[in-house]
Amino acid sequence: MASYLIRRILYMVPIIFGVMVITFVLFFVVQSPTAMAKRILGPKAKPEAIQNWLHNRGYDKPRFINTQPGATWWDSQFVHQMKALATFDLGYSDATGESIARMFRQGAIPSLLITVPSFIFGFLISLSAALFFVFVRDSRTDLFGVILCVAMMSIPIQVYVIFGQWLIAVKTSYLPAFGFYLSGASTIKFLVLPVILYTLADLGGEVRLYRTIFLEEIHQEYVKTAQAKGVSPARVLFVHVLKNGMISIITLVVASLPFLIIGSLVLENFFGIPGLGNLTVNAIRTSDFAVVRTTVYLGSLLYLVGLLLTDICYAAVDPRIRFQ
């Protein structure tokens, strides 16, 4: 197992390198650092100031290979950028000059406060609903359920948010329409609405997915064996099928776990929750390339962590792999 994990991690190295190259190309080659300098120094900055800024940060070096006489060939933007990313030197925001590492640390908590409860509720509800639809499979209820799920999937998340905010926060004044601060239990009032909406927006797709997975299982031979043993239909579903289906589901779910930290782009912005999603949207709106770049990079790392977790989880829950 350990050697397997080490191999998996080694396998990620070239992929991380690839990601770094892509981010470099998108954010340094296509968008020049001069634009970043303008961003920080303001539209009224003088060319010397910009040159000065670029020089301080090494952005005036050649792109890939330094061919200037007297310089070592690796003294280039590319190499420096790679080094910075590889050592998690995330740099500073283009818009505010704040340390990005700090921004991310601060943003992670609110994001997790939204995503973790949504994830747990969403998971439990969609699992129950999927099992219910599988139990009544091939009936009208099932057909209705599938269409309902697809319908829920077909509504963009903004519509959920606009409607939910209007109904709960504006029309009934139950909950704050906006805002967030961290202070123990009263933080909950800011979380309820976003959590409900986030759960709702993902529900259709998840129920449908889980239902498909369970249906796949219910056609397996072992189900026939269980029935022939005299196991009740409910027990077949909730013990035999559930445990087998959970293997696929858990591994799917685990892969998405690291992304919880990124939060929701749309929701956080609507509700003014200062999480990473909000940070990212704001960075996009203000073309703060440094932050967007870092989000891309960290997002990729999280994805890889997710893959790793999936592998570990697979081994943990599936005896066929555990005892290989």
């Binding site: 139950y174 704050p176 912005n269």
Partner: protein
């Protein structure tokens, strides 16, 4: 099981969240003397980029900087016609001095007993008294290339020593703060002269801007963003230490900035004259009182306009701008409050801003730059009134000239002959320009222009579409190039555009601050003449006008400059913004001057009234809860019966 947990959590959450107040509790409930703690909540559109007074050059930054720092002079908060400068940190207005060798200077006296905020950066932890050396230090910072002061080049033209010190620092790659600043002659701890290279009447305005605010050297050196004894100190730009009425105590990025009253504040008091006669009673009560009245200012960062308005409706923020979406709700056709809002007791303010928005042509562009008739045609076809009507609730002023009202030289009755929305005239001009019906008379091809805009939200997108359609009425085709903010700036700087929408907000109410946008020596990279307009006649008149004190002769020069711009049409004036603002009944606004950004130091609120109104405006209907309960009960029943049947 899962459902039960969910219901339980939702129930808990509803209990916990029975208040929809989105604010954290104030720092204190009561003042030391037992009177209510006055905490004011203000919507704030975004995080300021920097609170370094020598660097910050945007409205957001200034809104905070001007509460924390103060300058030698400030604008009278109540007088607008004309705008009037009054002493702030200075003890009386400065005296101009003409030196024997023809040099010019202004002598300032600093008030005694002005102290910086108490802060760990001072060795005793107590704020030190402000002295003349701090002004010299502030000017040294302006000259320091590392500070990247955006107005350095403008000031360097007039103030002795800025340019040399800047050049020297660039040469040696370090700035020597131990050397005295040559442009400031320190007479004693409370007296100094600012030495000028040439006549510069606008200096007084500059002395009312944050760039010239005194900064304690201790703070700049103390707050460096590095780690000391295991704790990381913030950067100076995020940890301001000044002499102003408030101290910044907390800044949560993306959430809030909280300021608390500076208890040692003595520099200014509430003005004793200048208010409108109609409101005398209210002002009389405050006249001459020590300020600030507020104990706490809580800027809540709300990036979206809708939530800001929602919070205002619910009584959770003290002020709101009236965006076009909600304008009709609150303001009637006669530009008065609607009955509903009158009943609420809300205050309405109409603020004419000293700004002008305009279309700007790139005069170096071969198509639009060399064809005056074409520019005039576009000017004539554009229906500014409709734009104001649709997008600005009909309240912005239709601009006929570059100068906004209130700035010296503004001609209230001036009409730009090419800016009267006359489609016939526009077609005529277009034909004369060589494009009858929008088609090139020589090649027969349709004329296509590119309009560069920064489009980042729904409103700017709708506006862009409107602008495109307006100009396309000429029969030409307009391609809107949507740029990111940085790209747009880049295009401006490199002159890589045909025409674009732009605006200028007065730094100070002097015509120089507008006409310099078209001064030939200010073509980028030197300055802000993004039109790249170069007219020797204009430049000559501008230089002359710039150095003059206000006089009929100067007025004449200003009118001539305006006439040149009107005829040449390097820009099409669109409108002067007028903003409608609302204040809650418990927080009437005091300041009447739109140039004043530290108005909160004059403001006070009625805490008891706020509490009462908040309850009144946030009643929660019971029927949805009952509905949810009924639904849950029905679902439970169904589940029970279902499990009975299928058990």
């Amino acid at each position: 099981m899962a459902l039960r947990i969910l219901y339980l959590t939702v129930a808990c959450a509803l209990l916990a969240g029975c208040s929809n107040n989105p604010h954290p509790p104030p720092f204190r409930e009561k003042r030391a003397d037992g009177t209510p703690w006055q905490a004011s909540y203000r919507p704030f559109p975004d995080d300021p980029r920097s609170l370094d007074p020598q660097f910050s050059y945007d409205t957001l930054g200034h809104a905070v900087v001007s509460l924390v720092y103060e300058e030698m002079l400030e604008y009278h908060p109540l007088k607008t016609d004309p705008y009037e400068l009054i002493p702030c940190l200075a003890d009386g207005m400065p005296e101009p001095i003409s030196g024997s060798d023809g040099t010019l200077a202004y002598r300032f006296r600093i008030k005694r007993g002005v102290y910086f905020h108490d802060d760990p950066c001072f060795s005793s932890g107590k704020g030190r008294e402000l002295v003349a050396a701090d002004m010299a230090y502030a000017f040294n910072r302006i000259a320091d290339p590392k500070v990247e002061c955006p107005v350095l080049s403008t000031l360097a033209e007039f103030v002795v020593g800025l340019q040399e010190r800047n050049d020297e620092a660039k040469r040696t790659k370090s700035f020597d703060y131990s050397k005295p600043f040559p442009g400031i002659r320190v007479i004693d701890d409370h007296t100094f002269d600012i030495l000028l290279l040439k006549p510069f009447p606008q200096l007084l305005y500059w002395m009312a801007m944050p760039f010239t605010a005194p900064v304690p050297r201790e703070a700049v050196e103390y707050y460096d963003g590095r780690s000391h004894d295991g704790t990381i100190r913030q950067q100076f730009k995020f940890k301001p230490v000044g002499t102003g009425p408030f101290r910044l105590v907390e800044w949560k990025k993306g959430l809030s900035l909280r300021l608390i009253r500076n208890d040692n504040y003595t520099a200014t008091r509430f003005p004793t004259e200048g208010w409108p006669a109609a409101d005398a009673a209210r002002y009389q009560a405050m006249a001459g009182k020590p300020i600030p009245f507020l104990d706490e200012v809580d800027f809540r960062i709300i990036r979206e306009s809708i939530p800001a308005w929602l919070l205002f409706r619910q009584g959770y923020v003290e002020a709101a701008g009236l965006g076009k979406d909600v304008f009709d709700t609150a303001v009637s056709a006669r530009q008065e409050l609607t009955p509903e809002y009158q009943a609420r007791g809300v205050w309405l303010y109409k603020d004419a801003e000293p700004s002008t928005f305009y279309f700007q042509f790139n005069m170096q562009n071969p198509v639009v730059g060399k064809n005056r008739k074409l520019r005039q045609a576009i000017s004539a076809v554009y229906d500014v009134d409709l734009e104001i009507d649709i997008f600005m609730n009909g309240i912005y002023l239709n601009a006929q000239q570059l100068l906004p009202p209130g700035v010296y030289g503004y001609q209230a009755d001036f009409k730009d002959p090419y800016r009267q929305h006359n489609v016939e005239q526009a077609r005529q001009l277009l034909a004369e320009a060589g494009y009858p019906n929008g088609y090139d008379a020589k090649t027969g091809k349709q004329l296509q222009l590119t309009l560069d805009l920064t489009v980042d939200d729904a409103e700017s997108r709708q506006l862009a579409e409107f602008e495109k359609e307006q100009i396309e009425k000429l029969g030409i085709s307009v391609k809107v190039e949507e740029n990111l903010w940085a790209t747009q700036q880049d295009k401006m700087d490199r002159g890589n555009f045909q025409f674009t929408a732009s605006g200028w907000n007065a730094d100070y109410p002097d015509p120089e601050n507008f006409f310099f946008l078209f001064y030939g020596k200010n073509i980028p990279p030197e300055g802000n003449n993004n039109s790249r307009y170069a007219n020797p006649e204009f430049d000559r008149l501008f230089e002359k006008m710039r150095a003059m004190e206000n006089s009929p002769e100067r007025l004449d020069l200003i009118h001539r400059l305006n006439a040149i711009l009107t005829e040449d049409c390097p820009m099409i004036p669109l409108y002067h913004p007028v903003a409608f603002h609302l204040s809650q009944p418990w927080a009437p606004r005091v300041v009447l001057n739109p140039l004043v950004s530290n108005g909160l130091k004059y403001t006070q609120i009625d805490v008891a009234m706020r509490k009462q109104k908040q309850v009144e405006w946030n009643r929660k209907p019971m029927w949805p809860l009952a509905g949810i309960a009924a639904f849950l009960a029905a679902a439970g029943m169904f589940a029970y019966r279902w499990s009975q049947r299928h058990g």
